[in-house]
Symmetry: C2
Subunit: 219 residues, 2 copies
Amino acid sequence: MSVMWTVRVVGVGLVALSLSVELLGWLRRRLRPGRILNEVIFFPSEMACVEHIFAPSSPYSCVCPLSHGVETSFSRLLRHILSASSSLDLCVFAFSNMNLSRAVLALHSRGVTIRALVDKDYAAINGSQTGVLRKAGICVRYDVGSVYMHHKFAIVDGRLLVTGSLNWTLNAVQSNLENIMVTEEPELLQPFIKEFHRLWLRNNPALHLRSKDQKPGKN
Amino acid sequence: MSVMWTVRVVGVGLVALSLSVELLGWLRRRLRPGRILNEVIFFPSEMACVEHIFAPSSPYSCVCPLSHGVETSFSRLLRHILSASSSLDLCVFAFSNMNLSRAVLALHSRGVTIRALVDKDYAAINGSQTGVLRKAGICVRYDVGSVYMHHKFAIVDGRLLVTGSLNWTLNAVQSNLENIMVTEEPELLQPFIKEFHRLWLRNNPALHLRSKDQKPGKN
């Protein structure tokens, strides 16, 4: 009888254990806090005031004629960029959008480490924000090794990739058909982190100055 | 005693059921054939012959001076496009790359349904392949509702999204820093399918002809 009793206890114990494992696994899959973000945002964006995104504590302070408090494609992009708390790596062909520039400057003033890699030719055109960023003390590098540095991606805190067809210009945001995707998927994020690191090192101006000094013709 | 026996049988049955469910779930997660593809490809691509991709049955037939049998960024892009077996939806700003045009024509001749939506201004420039596609009987539409139709994406068989910064030009492939991502992730793929559908309908020339006919000034 005691054998029977042991079998029963072991049986019930195993049932309870198995059901608990299954239930915990199901709960973990449903409720995991680290559920991977994947989002696609299309442009052109509806035009709306974005002051409340820069100053969320006083959302009704702006009196401009645009709609207020509206969530648009552009406000979603701004929110993702402004979510940076430690670092923002930018690799953008064209950067002339003043609100995106303002967001980057705001992050810089909060102590977020910014690195910006831009196309050397586009950086020289009128309206480019790269001069503004440099004047504020942000480290900007110019790609010198290709015809166009045509990427348009940002890496937020090494955890979030923002990439797509959208250049950081006013036309792209307001007038063109464009897309960006925002993803935490490691298989997509990690190659971009690696590529940024490679391009950042390749375009270190100190390397170019040194290699110029070492040119045989100069010695 | 028979109650005891029933309890034992039910107990063992529940253990077996729970363990089987857990084991099957684990096996499904490990071995699922539909593991989601996520791939990032960077450009410029190494230059190499791509004849073996178009004619895999005779891989050594080409005598051009380029490297042969080399896997490059461009060959990977071509393979993804050529993997279409039922449909290819294209939404590209600039389409002048002759090898990509050749791939699309090859799919068309195999019976794959092609729909191409391009920018109206870029389509008019020298080197654009949209005329070649139209002459072959492929349905091409021109976006008329925005300043630039700046997307650069393709949807293969409604299951695979190819998108990024890369225009379908020779310069983009061979000279620029560019990226594409290739993904089956539904959260990224589905919005692009929906957007293509929306843009395809919006740019139906029959609608524009009809709306022109209905203009008050013409009546």
